[in-house]
Every structure is written in C-alpha cells, then in structure tokens.
C-alpha cells in the first residue's frame, strides 16, 4: 500500500516536471496570474510634491500632475490625498531633515505605504537649457528611502520624464514595465483623407505618420514597437497591407492581392502575420510566415472571415465570421483547426481583441437596442460583461499591454474620438479632443 503511494507520488512528480517543461517551452502561459484580480489590494501611494528648483514656474507642477495621473492609471497604486490625511505637502528636500522624518511618520501612521517627492530645475545644455528632475521614494514598510532617479533632457520631454518615473514605481512594486511610456496608434481624418497618427497613451504629443491623401486604416503594432502594419489604399482602387517603420517613415508592401486586404495582426513573436483577404472570392483568413513568406489559408467558408486577434501565446486566434448570418466571434487554433463559436448573445459581435493576459476577449457587441458597445467575454465563454453604455457607437477595442485598460473609439460626444476605460468598465477617460474623426486605436506593447 505504502509503496503504491510512493509510486504515485513519483509519477506525480514526473508529470509536474512535464508540466513545468511545457510552460517553459512555450515561454508563456495561457492565462496569467496577475494584479487584475478583484481582490488585488492597491498600494497606497502619496505624491508629496515636485518642487521647482530654478526652472520655469510650470515645471514642478507639470511633472507632479503627469506623475499623479500616471500613478492613478497604473491601477497598481491607490493615489492618496495627503492634505486630507493631515499630511503637509511640502518640500522634504533630500529626505534627511527632521521635517521630512515627521512627514514619513505621519504617512506610516495613516497607512500610506509609499511616499514620492522630487524637485526639478534647469541645467545648462548645449543648445538650450535642459530640464532636470530628481525623484525619491520612501517606503514606510521598511522605513527607508529606497532610492530615486535623476533625469535630464530637453524641455520637450518633461512629460516623458514623469512617465518614466511612474513606470519605475510600477516596476519596483510589481516587476512589470508599466504603461506610462506606451503609445497609441490611430487613424485621424486629415481633410477628406484618413492618415495614421501616434500619440502618448494619455493622448498627448500626437504625431502624424502618413500623408498619402487617401485612406490608411486599422494600424497594429509589431511586438518590438518599431513598426505598424495597416491597410493602405493604393491609387484609391486597390488595398494593400503595408508596414511602416516609426523611426524612419520607411514603408513596405507586405500583401497586395486583389480585393480586400484588411485587418493585419502580427503574432506575439512577430513570426506570423494574420490577415483577411478576399482574393479567392470572399473574405478569408490567411497566415503569412514572415521568415519564409509562405502563405497558409486558415478558413474555407462562403461567409466573410476577418479581424484575427492573437492569443498572448500565439497558439490561438479569435476572429469574426458571418457564417451564421450576422457577424460573431469565433476561436480557432493558429493553424486554422479547431474552430468554435465564442459569442452567442446578440446578432452582431465583432472586432475581437484578446487581452495580453489571456483572460478576456474584448469585442464590439450590438445590444437589443441596436447600440454598438464594448463587451468582454472569457475565452471559455463562461463569463461575459458589457463595459460601456449609452448611445455612442463604440468600435475597435485595443488592450493596454498590462491588460488593465482598453482604448477604443466612440461617437459618444458627437464626432468619433479615442477613449480609454478600465477593464472593469470604470474610469472612462477621453483621450483626443482635436480633429473631426479619430478612430481605430491600437495600443503599443510595453517597452
């Protein structure tokens, strides 16, 4: 009897090893254990102040404002209102004086786990004066100043300094790179044309990428953030799938079959481009091996198949098909096998986006009142939730790389603009305010 138990323990150990090898082999798990669980306790963090130390009047305040918003959006920290806790917001200097000791003590007594402060000023640069910033972090658990950062750069990168510091805080407390330095690519109307733009994740610093004068649609990032793939209309009459290098503006035509060439999406390892093309009759899904240039057809169906979205492991694809009448979200293995329908509620479900954590697929769902809103569904179809409400037409959900937010477009305020919302439907934030039409956001991977 005892021997049998020992044997089964040994066997069990072997299968554990096999399971371990499997996980390590794939390099990633299907569903990640993470800080988006509802019971995750946010870390209470207070920003004391970023003091001006000889810079322009706006400098410290700007850094402080950007940093606070980043901390809040991280969803890792609870941004504490220090004055309401009776903690005086003042210069704690290098954190070594008696005044700062008192502030630390007060913070610890009020449950503030992390205190952040800093100062900013000007430094002689080669052409113009550089801005510099110092930030420090006090941890009340260990009762010590755990460290700081010093940054310098031109005045045009002030926001980026705050973003960088915010990401360091997230990295320190979670081991994740943070999202404050991520970008969002999108389409914006430019006269009658639609061109590609890229902005910071908080809507600032928008830059135009293309100037073709016609239509460029639905950009998606390469996993290394160097490229975007998108649909371009060449001479207005044909569609290509193009790639543009952000740093140089250099362009390549990846796919130029006749008919539709739409919804390109690079696999998480960058080795495959999934896309929809109608060159063999109706819109079908294909997979292009970016190393061998071999093209594999994934779907064979008289209905339209489109909008592939990779699972974080690259093993599966979510996509849209109207094989049942209206468009619905389906799943399949990335070689085209094992197709099964995922959405059953409502007669129009489209534009799926698989969360980088694997646990949700966001999509556009048409409600019984014929409103186009955002929904999320678990890949096993067991959990489903409508995230947005109201009359605006919502489209193109795209996950932040930490899986805690979605960017999407909506006509909620009249014209189409880009918005951000938490994965649980809270904290709706509008990101674009200029232009007559902003659409098709794609959130970059983390750097």
């Amino acid at each position: 009897m005892n021997r049998r138990i020992v044997m089964s323990l040994v066997l069990c150990g072997l299968c554990l090893l096999a399971a371990a090898a499997g996980i390590l082999d794939s390099g990633a798990a299907d569903v990640f254990l993470e800080a988006t669980r509802p019971d995750f306790q946010k870390i209470p963090l207070g920003v004391v102040s970023i003091e001006n130390n000889g810079g322009p009047d706006w400098l410290g305040g700007r850094l402080e404002e950007v940093l606070k918003k980043d901390v809040k959006r991280s969803l890792v920290f609870e941004l504490m209102d220090l004055p309401s806790l009776g903690i005086k917001v003042r210069d704690v200097g290098n954190g070594l004086g008696n005044g700062s000791k008192a502030v630390f003590k007060q913070a610890a007594e009020n449950g503030v786990s992390v205190l952040v402060w800093g100062k900013a000023g000007l430094k002689k640069g080669e052409k113009e004066d550089d801005v510099n910033m110092e930030g420090f972090v006090y941890d009340s658990g260990s009762d010590e100043i755990v460290g700081g950062k010093r940054y310098a750069g031109s005045p045009s990168v002030v926001r980026l300094m705050a973003h960088r510091f915010a990401d360091e805080l997230v990295f320190r407390y979670t081991g994740e790179p943070g999202i404050a330095r991520t970008k969002i690519a999108y389409v914006s109307a430019h006269g009658a044309a639609r061109e590609l733009f890229v902005m910071d994740y908080d809507g600032y610093d928008a830059r135009q990428l293309t100037a073709d004068g016609f239509l460029n649609l639905m950009p998606r990032w390469s996993p290394d953030r160097r490229f975007l793939v998108f649909t371009a209309y060449r001479d207005r009459n044909t569609q290509d799938i193009d790639m543009i290098e952000l740093a140089t503006g250099k362009r390549w035509t990846l796919v130029s079959y006749g008919g539709l060439n739409i919804t390109p999406a690079l696999s998480p390892d960058g080795n495959f481009l999934a896309f929809a093309s109608s060159h063999e009759g109706n819109s079908e899904l294909y997979r292009l091996d970016t190393r061998t240039k071999a093209v594999q057809r994934l779907t064979t169906n008289p209905a339209g198949d489109l909008s592939p979205s990779w699972s974080p492991t690259g093993r599966e694809l979510a996509f849209v098909s109207d094989r049942g009448g209206g468009p619905q979200v389906f799943l399949m293995s990335s070689d085209g096998s094992n197709v099964r329908r995922l959405t059953f509620e409502g007669d129009y479900n489209a534009a799926p986006a698989w969360s980088p954590r694997g646990n949700w697929i966001a999509y556009v769902c048409r409600t019984p009142r014929k409103e186009y809103k955002l929904c999320v569904i678990s890949p096993d179809g067991q959990k489903r939730m409508q995230l947005t409400t109201g009359g605006g037409i919502d489209d193109s959900p795209s996950w932040s790389p930490d899986g805690r937010h979605l960017a999407f477009s909506s006509t909620a305020d009249g014209k189409s603009h880009i918005y951000m919302i938490d994965a649980d439907g809270k904290d709706l934030e509008r990101l674009t305010f200029e232009g007559s039409h902003n659409s098709a956001p794609s959130w970059s991977p983390a750097s």
Binding site: R207, A232, T238, L246, V255, S277, H279, L288, V364
Partner: protein, 240 residues
C-alpha cells in the same frame, strides 16, 4: 497535492513572467530584407493572379524583440539618465533606455495633391455620365426592385459608352465596426457588379472596391444620413 501543484505552477508562471520583464534581446540583427524591399507603390503590383505568391512583398524581420524595458530600477545614488523622445527598440548601448531614434515626420508628398486631382476628374466624369448610386437596407447587400431600375439605366449608359471603365464602390453607414463594414461594403459592390454583368456588361469593364464606413457622403448621426451612406457608387475611371 493540488496545492503543491498550483503552488509550483504559480512559481513557474511568476518566473516566466519575470523572464519576460527582464526582456533579454532575442535577436539583434535585422534580416537584411531592407535593401531589397519593394518600396510602397514602386515594384509590388497588385497580385490578382490566383494562387500565386505575387501578392506578398519583401519586408524586414518583425520578430526582433525590444531590448528590455529600459528601466534601471531605483537607486540610492542615482546617476543621471538622459531622456529623449523616441520609439521602438533602443539601439544597443544607447545611453538611456528611451534614447531610441526619433519618430519620423510624415512626408508631405505630392501623393495627396495627385489623389485630389484624380478624384476631381473622376467625380466630373461620373457626374457628366449621370450614373446613379444604388442604396441598400441596414446590414443588407440585397439590391431591391426600385434600385434595379437605377442600375438598368447605368447599364444602358455603359452600353452606349463601350470604352468607359467603371469602378463600383461599396459604402456603409457609420454603425458597426470599421473592419466588418469593409466586408459589407465589398458584398454591396460585388452585388452591384454582378447585377450589371447580368444585364450584359462585361465583367472586365467593372472593378470593385470597398470603402466601408470610411468615406461617408454625409456625416450626421441620423437615419436620413445613414440611408445615403449605405450605397453602391459607380465612378467612371479616368486615365488608365
């Protein structure tokens, strides 16, 4: 046993996640596809030939992983990091994680003005031909009886102008997703083309293109406007 298993699994997942964060660069050299790559609009031609690989162009390696997060962690005696606006992977040995290259500025080429000129010529030719648009129902690509009459007149014009080449554009209203509306727009354009072929127009005089909901003729959020946008538009091709 179950707890042990999940405990170990969690530890493994955590370590895998940490490996991912530390982000060791996987490849550092580009495939060299750059130099031979076909620039946009130059050599790559629309690959209408079926089953061939002419529709796939050359392009650079996209499997290169970025060189880590660029974060160095907090330091008790922090050295100064230079922050520069940048994109993508940092070049190896860059002084700061974000010291990548700048984002290229969009090149205001002649393309845009050429497009405008051609569009104006197309519109003028289509207007003088008196071709009529075909309108569709919500979610539909079926040509209704009254719309067939409009198309019959369009076909008559094409028969009396046998040299004219016509582009059938499929359009949608703003409801629904960008992507699915491109598919819907193609279904509408093909329905129009097929009907014209039934009426005796040679298929090689007709091309189809879908603009989805991206080129509306009307911008209001109302059914009166949506109706005008759910259309098949016939354009007389100018030039080639």
């Amino acid at each position: 046993m179950g707890t042990t298993y999940s405990g170990i699994a969690m530890a493994l997942v955590a370590s895998v996640a940490l490996l991912g964060v530390s982000g060791c660069s996987k490849k550092s050299v580009q495939s060299g596809g750059d130099t031979q790559s076909s620039q946009h609009g130059s050599t790559a031609k629309s690959g209408s030939t079926e089953g061939s690989k002419t529709g796939v162009g050359n392009f650079p390696d996209t499997s290169m992983q970025s060189g880590g997060s660029g974060l160095r962690g907090l330091d008790k005696n922090p050295s100064e990091e230079h922050v520069a606006s940048g994109f993508g992977a940092s070049p190896a040995g860059a002084s700061a994680g974000m010291g990548g290259s700048l984002l290229a500025k969009a090149d205001p080429s002649d393309a845009a003005s050429r497009q405008l000129d051609e569009m104006r010529a197309e519109q003028a030719a289509s207007a003088s031909a008196g071709l009529r648009d075909v309108y569709f129902g919500y979610d539909s690509w079926t040509i209704s009886e009254d719309q067939r009459q409009a198309l019959t007149r369009d076909a008559d014009w094409m028969k009396t102008n046998p040299a004219a080449m016509v582009k059938v554009e499929g359009h949608c209203d703003e409801r629904g997703t960008t992507a699915y509306n491109l598919v819907l727009g193609e279904k509408r354009a093909k329905a129009v083309r097929n009907f014209l072929v039934e009426l005796g127009i040679s298929a090689n005089r007709l091309s189809v293109v879908s603009y989805g909901k991206e080129r509306p003729s009307c911008e209001e959020h109302a059914e009166s406007c949506y109706q005008q946008n759910r259309r098949g538009h016939l354009a007389v091709k100018s030039g080639k």
